[in-house]
């Protein structure tokens, strides 16, 4: 008990240690409960052919990414060149989930807008954006009201889901994909899922 005077100092270091660890955490990244669970089934209109619905089953047997995007999303602009490069290198098929293209845009008051008019506007805006910035997607689907987004637990754009050949979600990336996160996290995950499947 001679070193009793050291007790407050040690307590301080313990507290500082906890706080330092806390600084490395990002409270905006909420872990998804959907990891390793079957991706929620959906059927949505394709951007290139709105009369044709796209369903999850069409990607069966492939390891692929579902990328949530919108033309009003600023961070999507940051991530887009990475997606385009991924498409050029044919790393992995990416399906785009266009999230609330019209009503998600704070500049537009979409309340009271008829669904047909909103869909037409969404297609026009989304297509123009892809024409301007390049289209890295095998196809994009339109989630006009964000309902499918809720099923996937989307709470911000962009988000990206890694889905395996059996339609299970294996990983969720929150925020824009950067060259670093692609190389250090996403590609290793894809390789892992491919090996396992």
């Amino acid at each position: 008990m001679k070193a009793k005077f050291l007790v407050p100092l040690l307590l301080f270091f313990a507290l500082a240690g906890f706080l330092a660890f806390g600084l490395t955490l990002n409270p905006r990244e909420v872990p998804s409960p959907l990891i390793d669970k079957p991706a929620p089934a959906f059927s949505l209109a394709r951007l290139d052919d709105p009369a044709r619905p796209f369903a999850l089953e069409e990607m069966k047997g492939q390891v692929w990414l579902l990328n949530v995007w919108a033309s009003w999303c600023v961070a999507c602009r940051q991530e887009h060149p990475v997606l385009v490069r991924m498409a050029q290198q044919k790393l992995v098929p990416v399906v785009g989930l266009n999230y609330k293209e019209v009503r998600g845009d704070g500049a537009i008051n979409a309340r009271g807008m008829a669904l047909e008019a909103e869909t037409a506007l969404a297609i026009e805006r989304a297509q123009r954006w892809l024409d301007d910035h390049g289209d890295p997607y095998v196809l994009s689907v339109l989630d006009i009201d964000g309902r499918v987004g809720i099923d996937f637990g989307v709470y911000g754009v962009p988000e990206t889901f890694l889905i395996d050949g059996e339609g299970r979600i294996r990983y969720k990336h929150i925020g824009p994909i950067t060259p670093e996160s692609l190389q250090q996290v996403i590609m290793p995950k894809i390789e892992e899922v491919r090996r396992a499947g």
Binding site: P27, R28, V30, P31, S32, P33, L34, C73, V74, A75, C76, Q78, K100, R103, G104, G106, A107, N109, R111, G112, D145, G146, I150, D151, F152, G153, Y155, G156, V157, P158, I174, G175, P176
Partner: protein
């Protein structure tokens, strides 16, 4: 002059805080779809016609955390996602689902994070058990200290006869001395 000296550090602190905030902002790179819409004539949130249903919706919404503005419930937040989730809650309650069904629906998608009242399970054991642990531990430590002190006091009571006599003499001598002292001699 004095007021100025006071103002300067305060202003410097304010500038430092502002700089820190500005530095922290780009870290939030994900577009968190903050409420940008000004409340125009058409922007009023939807409300159920049945007041009882709306009351239920609001009661439940107050227990659910918004994932965008994380320290607000979906009842308080005006983020588009909170509006969407409130609509979901309203729609499902109107369809006759129970409150627990709606909570399960949201937890299945967003995890326990949406609950302001975290459930008791293995991962939250420390959260729920921690305060009890601290209380029991603190009470135990206090009891131990008190017993030890009692032992120490008891040991101090055990004076020998010689010691008692000496103590009495000292006390008596002290009393005599202080009584002979006059107020003047002290100053």
């Amino acid at each position: 002059m004095r007021a100025e000296m006071f103002v300067k550090p305060v202003r410097r602190l304010a500038v430092a805080v502002a700089v820190l905030l500005a530095a922290a902002l780009p870290a939030v790179a994900q577009q968190a779809a903050m409420p940008q819409q000004s409340a125009g004539p058409g922007a009023a949130p939807t409300v159920a016609a049945d007041p009882q249903l709306e009351a239920d919706v609001m009661e439940l919404s107050h227990k659910l955390r918004c994932l965008v503005c994380q320290n607000q419930s979906i009842a308080e937040s005006n983020a588009p996602l909170a509006l969407d989730l409130r609509d979901q809650v309203r729609e499902q309650l109107a369809a006759g689902r129970s409150k627990n069904d709606v909570i399960d629906y949201l937890v299945a998608r967003y995890g326990d994070f949406v609950l302001y009242d975290p459930p008791f399970k293995a991962t939250t054991l420390l959260l729920w058990g921690g305060p009890v642990l601290l209380l029991v531990g603190g009470a135990g430590w206090l009891a131990w200290r008190l017993r030890r002190r009692q032992g120490e006091l008891a040991a101090m009571h055990g004076l020998s006869e010689a010691e008692r006599r000496r103590a009495r003499e000292l006390l008596a001598g002290d009393a005599k001395q202080s009584s002979s002292e006059s107020p003047e001699s002290r100053s």
